[in-house]
Amino acid sequence: MAFTPLKETYPGKVYTVEIGKGEKAVTFAGENVLPFHTFEGASPNRPVIAYEIQDMPPDEWPDTVRKPYSGISSDPVSWARFCQDSLGAKVIALRLVSTHPDRLDRSPDEAAKTVSDVLAAIDIPLIILGSNHAEKDASVLVAAAGAAKDSNCIIGKAQEANYKTIAAAAMANNHKLIAMSELDINLSKQLNILITQMGFEKDRLIIDPMCSALGYGLEYTYSVMERIRLAALAQNDATMQQPILGDIGMYVWKVKEAQAVETSVSGWGALEERGISWEAVTAASMLIAGAELLIMWHPEAVQKVESLIDELY
């Protein structure tokens, strides 16, 4: 008798999310199986990787990851174009770091102008991120969401402290929204409930359970993501059926392994290769844990993860 592999099926399904407009719109998630278990059910869309750009020169980035963007990263518009036209980015994530009070403390209006300029320069979908300063983000992201009205962007990140204003702005301007909590599945569920109780549609949310880098708590993120997916699929929990975001770059490129030069850490291998691998391995782990959307920094790391997806998907 022929061998029939047992198929694991689930009552739940992850919401499908579409971002952007027209031909370049991107769709992700929508599966009713665990990551890459395409042989067990429906997994209609492959995971998507967004290239991160910033609204000020990335002076704090290590050399390895500044190098691919040298000459164009002083201006978010040329940076965005480069990602789209030269690197073949499918999505861009614009982080408005300059608005942080400890950086340049730029105003919401300035941020809105940057958003408009970048949107005018690209035709692929845009993710608009604040500086992760809960109070400032509330005003910056409201202005940014307005500037991008009807462009079907993702706005983020709404947290417990500021979700009301940011969710209202995302709703009023027809965007998707990232709901971020800090490595706590119960708080993640709670935040999703609170946001949807405001009238925000649950299929327009994206969960950011907070990322971390390989060697720096990755297993916590992995476990939270995995449990979110199991709650969505096995328990059919509609408050956990949103796609998951892995915001990789910002966590990976600040760790020692991605920065320490060869002369100071003998035996760790070539710095450039090490940094790129660190980002790729972290990203791959998040995909296997359940993330459907990644934000990454280094083009070569992105390529490595895309090839992995080619093989697994």
Partner: protein, 260 residues
């Protein structure tokens, strides 16, 4: 845990009058209120319905499903009324449930009907004679109903075994026997058999203030031993169901879990 809302019963005066007058508003209001309180299915109890049972059940199913996106539990001893209800039932939100068959030959046709229409059915573990004496007798009857279901070619997943909850005020010893039966039923098959109870019967005949207390504590014990579904007033039991589901790890905890 599935809550089957019991409030649309001909025993209630308001419901009976609405049924007789074919007045949709009260029926739909009660259906919506049960749905919002956490019911996953609505029981439509039209009684024996010897006259016009078919048109009444049709009207009930249509009226309920116009108002709530839920399947209906068709509750009557009138075989033809059940079939009429099945024919009109919208399966978009789940398959209907027949309430019920038993080991009484008069109720066998219900099982045949469930098999013919590929719907779910409650198997009440009583026979033609008196009430079952204990859990073992209930399990014996359950096995007979299961065997009959298999003869009719019905998947056992579509059968919900009901051990018959009795009044605690008159049959106190049966409270534990029913819990034991729920455990035994599950062992009759792999995957375990589904189980259901008509909960509020436990407190039937008790003073009104005691009834929700008895219902909810009893339900907690039944859920702990694996009960699949409960026919009850969702307003009465929703908090218990949600809380026990959280404690048993079936639902992920969040501060607002009671609001979901």
């Amino acid at each position: 845990m599935l809550i089957i809302g019991e409030k649309l019963s001909i025993i209630a005066k308001r419901v009976r009058e609405a049924m007789m007058k074919r007045d949709k508003a009260p029926i739909q209001e009660i259906a919506v209120s049960q749905w919002k309180s956490g019911a996953g299915m609505i029981d439509a109890n039209i009684g024996p319905a010897e006259d016009n049972g078919e048109s009444l059940m049709e009207w009930m199913v249509k009226t309920i499903q116009e108002a709530v996106p839920l399947p209906v539990c068709l509750d009557t001893t009138n075989y033809r009324a059940i079939e009429a209800g099945l024919k009109i039932h919208n399966d978009e939100w789940g398959r209907p449930l027949i309430n019920s068959t038993s080991n009484d030959p008069e109720r066998f046709p219900m099982l045949e009907l469930a098999s013919k229409h590929s719907v779910q059915i409650i198997g009440l573990t009583v026979g033609k004679g008196g009430l079952p004496a204990d859990a073992e007798e209930r399990a014996g009857i359950a096995a007979e109903i299961m065997a009959r279901a298999m003869e009719y070619g019905m998947p056992l997943e579509d059968l919900f075994l009901d051990p018959l909850v009795l009044q605690i005020s008159t049959s106190q010893d049966h409270a534990l026997k029913v819990i034991k039966a729920v455990k035994m039923f599950q062992e009759l098959n792999d995957p375990p058999m589904k189980t259901v109870v008509g909960l509020s019967n436990v407190s039937n005949g008790c003073p009104k203030p005691l009834r929700p207390i008895l219902n909810n504590y009893y339900l907690t014990l039944l859920m702990y031993d694996g009960l699949t579904a409960v026919i009850a007033d969702p307003h009465d039991v929703a908090a218990t169901v949600k809380t026990v589901d959280v404690i048993l790890g079936r639902t992920l905890y969040a501060h607002s879990y009671l609001e979901m």
